[in-house]
């Protein structure tokens, strides 16, 4: 991944490090120490034993990190998830990739993984949606479907023992991508969600967040614009209508007139993704729209979004948001302590991580270790004191 640099004046540098410090402080407790550098000791409970996972090494009885990243604990298994890594595929992931090679009966696709992925001719939809065996003629006409350097969206079909992966585009929503631009970010910044195709109707922009860190930002393909509006938030209806969507890559999709206004919106979204990627913040439609709106309210041009000043402001805004949640996180920490203390005599380590949006609704609940369902319920179902 190419790192882009942005200029920072000494005062901006100071503001940036202060904001970063606030972000860390807002995470609080054990999460603040979750980030490790190469050679850092990882605090573990030696009495109860632990399992050494990826990215760690035992040196003179101490568990050290061998990569830069975030400590992850699952029961006794302790591993470090590196911050700079290639894409680790999982079956069912939505990915955005670039065709690197047209081979016999298959395409090779760069998906930022350790190997190029394979897209078999039998795993794509033929034009017109005809279901039949692929013939030698189909094989000769493969370049009519996808040719070298084409950007496509696809889904991971299978992973193989030797590390190779197979893709498929057997849904109309997958296929060739057009009328837009590709932005590359670190794969760990994109969470696996129900929905990876987002139509930001208010801007007329389609956003495909590939799990592999490739983000495609384009105009909404015309064929899908008549279909019921798809909100960025996941809901049942969205999932249904998505399957009815006609994918990009159809002939009419190629002739979209991109007005300067639309181009500017695409560009703003792309720069929002770039900024979030450079700052290491999670990339999902909410954060992108938030950054987009922030750039509008501060009245800056799209090109100024990749300046140092906007990066600093983005980090400061994130720090503000996190510290607002901070008091709540604090109570989460107390609860964690209580649970962990109780777990102590049972030789159990328990972590409860809850992320709560500002409106107070639970976004994610992550429990590592055994917790009775009643207490887990209590954490998520509003049993916690409200921050206000």
């Amino acid at each position: 991944m190419k790192r882009t640099h942005f200029r920072l004046s000494p005062s901006q540098k100071q503001r940036l490090s202060q904001a970063q410090e606030r972000c860390r402080a807002a995470a609080g407790g054990f999460q603040a120490s979750a980030f490790v550098n190469v050679g850092d000791t990882i605090p573990v409970d030696y009495d109860n034993g632990f399992l050494r996972g990826h990215g760690t090494q035992l040196v003179e009885g101490q568990l050290l990190a061998t990569v830069c990243g975030v400590v992850e604990r699952v029961n006794k298994l302790i591993s470090v998830r590196p911050l700079r890594a290639r894409y680790n595929p999982e079956t069912g992931d939505v990915v955005v990739g670039r065709i690197t090679e047209v081979a016999p009966k298959r395409w090779k696709v760069d998906v930022n993984s350790r190997q190029d992925a394979q897209l078999l001719l039998s795993a794509v939809n033929l034009p017109g949606g005809i279901q039949r065996r692929r013939t030698a003629t189909d094989e000769l006409n493969m370049r009519d479907l996808f040719t070298e350097n084409d950007v496509i969206s696809a889904e991971v079909q299978t992973l193989h023992q030797d590390g190779s992966l197979h893709l498929h585009t057997r849904s109309l929503k997958y296929g060739k991508l057009e009328n837009g631009q590709l932005v590359k970010v670190s794969p760990y910044l994109i969470k696996r969600l129900k929905q990876h195709f987002h139509q930001l109707k208010q801007y007329g922009v389609q956003l495909i967040l590939g799990c592999n860190g490739y983000v495609w930002i384009s105009a909404i393909p015309p064929s899908s614009s008549e279909i019921v509006a798809i909100q960025p938030a996941t809901n049942q209806r969205a999932a249904e209508s998505e399957s009815r969507e006609t994918g990009a890559g159809t002939p009419e999709a190629q002739n979209v007139e991109i007005t300067r206004d639309l181009r500017e919106r695409i560009c703003r979204i792309a720069n929002a993704v770039r900024v979030l990627g450079a700052c290491g913040f999670m990339i999902h439609p909410d954060s992108i729209v938030d950054t987009y709106e922030a750039s509008l309210t501060s009245g800056i041009e799209p090109k100024q979004m990749i300046s140092g000043e906007f990066h600093v402001r983005t980090v400061e805004r994130e720090a503000d948001q996190r510290s607002k949640k901070g008091s709540f996180k604090g109570s989460a920490r107390h609860l964690y302590k209580a649970v962990a203390a109780r777990g102590d005599d049972q030789h159990h380590q328990v972590y409860v991580q809850v992320s709560i949006s500002r409106s107070g609704s639970t976004r994610e609940l992550c429990i590592n270790g055994p917790v009775t369902s009643s207490s887990a319920d209590r954490h998520s179902a509003g049993g916690w004191p409200h921050p206000t």
Partner: protein
């Protein structure tokens, strides 16, 4: 550098340039933001690193004592060389990297070294002379490409200008031998406080105009460069005079377009030069504060 783009992306880039809004939000004549850091190579007399978007280059100036070039007894010497490190990017491996470094070196030599008589060089060569006909400074200006995201030539020229501004030549005490007959005897001052700066106000910067479709753009990214039909690099100094001109790419250019490009390059270079100067100054003050 090979960048694979799909037909759709090529269209999108060309369309953006046509409406004066490129993929990263810049207009046709906007430079990316860059930062300059000076004194990055401790062994060199002067050095600078510039990060321009994803492009990252280092330039260093190493001064050595030498004899003046034949026929020009009161001149010093300068040499420019650029290396594209294959460890930096896989595309610099083998022949590709060598050719690219040759191209870059040649373009920089054309813009910085002046004519065969040494006239019009970026640095007044007479200022490098120590003892006429006997002793002079030889400046080795080296550029190293660490990563490339387009517009390497402009970045290298800025880095070299910054490195030359950063360059300090130690004081040379001539003990004896100033007469034409005897060999000069000299002593280099060991005092790090005693050094002289070069006069760098007339060192040019290079502005490359890349023609994509019907229009030409400034500071192209690697993706945009892959779509170019022709590129003209114009070296302009503070006075606004053109010090060098290099054209790359197979397609011919109309004379009127070329003249137009030069005038745009002149306009862009003046604002670029003032940014470069203030960045160099900022970096120098930062260093002085740290010391």
């Amino acid at each position: 550098m090979v960048v694979g783009l799909s037909a759709a992306e090529k269209n999108y880039i060309a369309g953006g340039i046509a409406v004066d809004l490129r993929s990263d939000g810049r207009g046709r004549h906007h430079f990316r933001e860059f930062s300059i850091d000076t004194s990055v190579v401790p062994q060199a007399n002067g050095s600078a690193r510039i990060c321009l978007g994803g492009t990252d280059v280092v330039a260093s100036v190493k001064a050595e004592l030498s004899t003046p070039p034949s026929g020009r007894p009161n001149h010093g010497k300068m040499e420019i060389n650029v290396e594209c490190s294959p460890t930096a990017a896989p595309e610099f491996e083998g022949r590709g990297g060598e050719e690219l470094s040759m191209d870059l070196s040649r373009a920089l030599q054309r813009s910085f070294l002046g004519g065969a008589s040494g006239a019009g060089a970026a640095i007044d060569l007479a200022s490098l002379s120590i003892v006429e006909g006997k002793l002079c400074w030889m400046l080795y200006i080296d550029g190293l490409v660490l990563s490339s995201d387009g517009n390497l030539l402009d970045a290298l020229s800025i880095a070299m200008k910054a490195a030359l501004s950063n360059c300090g030549l130690p004081k040379v005490d001539i003990i004896s031998g100033t007469s034409p007959e005897e060999e000069p005897d000299y002593e280099l001052s060991g005092n790090p406080e005693e050094f002289s700066r070069l006069e760098t106000s007339l060192v040019p910067v290079i502005v490359t105009l890349t023609k994509v479709g019907k229009h030409y753009i400034v500071d192209a990214t690697a993706e945009e460069e892959s779509q170019m039909t022709a590129a003209v690099s114009v070296a302009v100094n503070k006075k606004g005079s053109v010090c060098g001109l290099t054209k790359r790419g197979g397609t011919g250019l109309d004379t009127s377009v070329l003249l137009d490009m030069i005038s745009v390059a002149k306009r862009v270079s003046q604002s670029l030069l003032s940014t470069v100067d203030s960045e160099i100054l900022a970096s120098e003050t930062r260093h002085n504060e740290e010391l």
